[in-house]
Symmetry: C2
Subunit: 158 residues, 2 copies
């Protein structure tokens, strides 16, 4: 009987932790409204469809992140970036933005201990999370390639 009670309590505790984690995760992992009016940091294009980051990329920064980028002295809590990925289109001589593929998102928060002090996520064209493994799919590459700039790859282009 004691064993059953302990087991039930343990299951309940795990479920509670999972629920809280999900809520915290959801809180930090919503695509922010209005990011299309944020400052544009830069754009770039990867035309190779087999590349993991294929697409026409536009990088946006909220005011806190922009200040960090321009000052080059790190990022304040609440700094946010969105990288919008579009299909690579062509119209005559032009390489153009096609349909939206996804929005990649990062937000500075010391609470995101597992991912270097940034929450990461990726959202489909419907703004719903794509369910990527943010440790393997985002953090590890940022930690490896952009460790000298607080995990931020993009430089602001004047």
């Amino acid at each position: 009987m004691l064993r059953r009670i302990l087991l039930t309590a343990a299951v309940a505790a795990v479920a509670l932790v999972a629920l809280v984690a999900l809520q915290v995760s959801a809180m930090h992992h919503e695509l922010p409204k209005g990011y299309r009016s944020w400052a544009h940091v830069k754009s770039m294009v990867i035309t190779d469809k087999s590349h993991g980051l294929y697409g026409f990329h536009n990088v946006y920064a909220n005011p806190a992140a922009l200040e960090g980028l321009r000052a080059g002295k790190g990022f304040a809590k609440g700094s946010e970036f969105v990288v919008s990925f579009y299909e690579v289109g062509t119209e005559g001589p032009m390489i153009t933005q096609g349909k939206k593929i996804m929005d990649a998102y990062m937000k500075k928060d010391a609470a995101a201990k597992q991912t270097g002090g940034w929450w990461f996520n990726a959202f489909g064209p419907d703004a719903k999370p794509l369910g990527v493994d943010v440790v393997k799919g985002c953090y590890e590459c940022h930690a490896d390639g952009a460790k000298g700039t607080d995990l931020v790859f993009s430089k602001f282009i004047e």
Copy 2:
């Protein structure tokens, strides 16, 4: 003597008109400060160096122009666009923004009668006017290709 006075007065009048015209022109033809914080409308790339519009293009709209673009009902006086042209660079699999080539500029003003109600200009990387013929080099192509959208080629991409 009367002839000399009249001639002098005429020359002075012409000089005055020219001076006023230059000042009006300069007033409308300065690259606006802060346009890099305006909303980003879209980007596109023309890689062919022989093309007249070669470059990595980023299009920015001030708040008035953005409202016009999104509502699709024309542009209020004071609407402004800047298209920043950069060299087309490559880094590994990426097509990137290279050095700034120029900034093309248009501003809505009914007083710009010769160019369809928009002031046009183009500025070098030093923000000084390039001295282009804005009628032949800007207006005529916009009037021909974008007459249904008040001479504005770009559409806002969400």
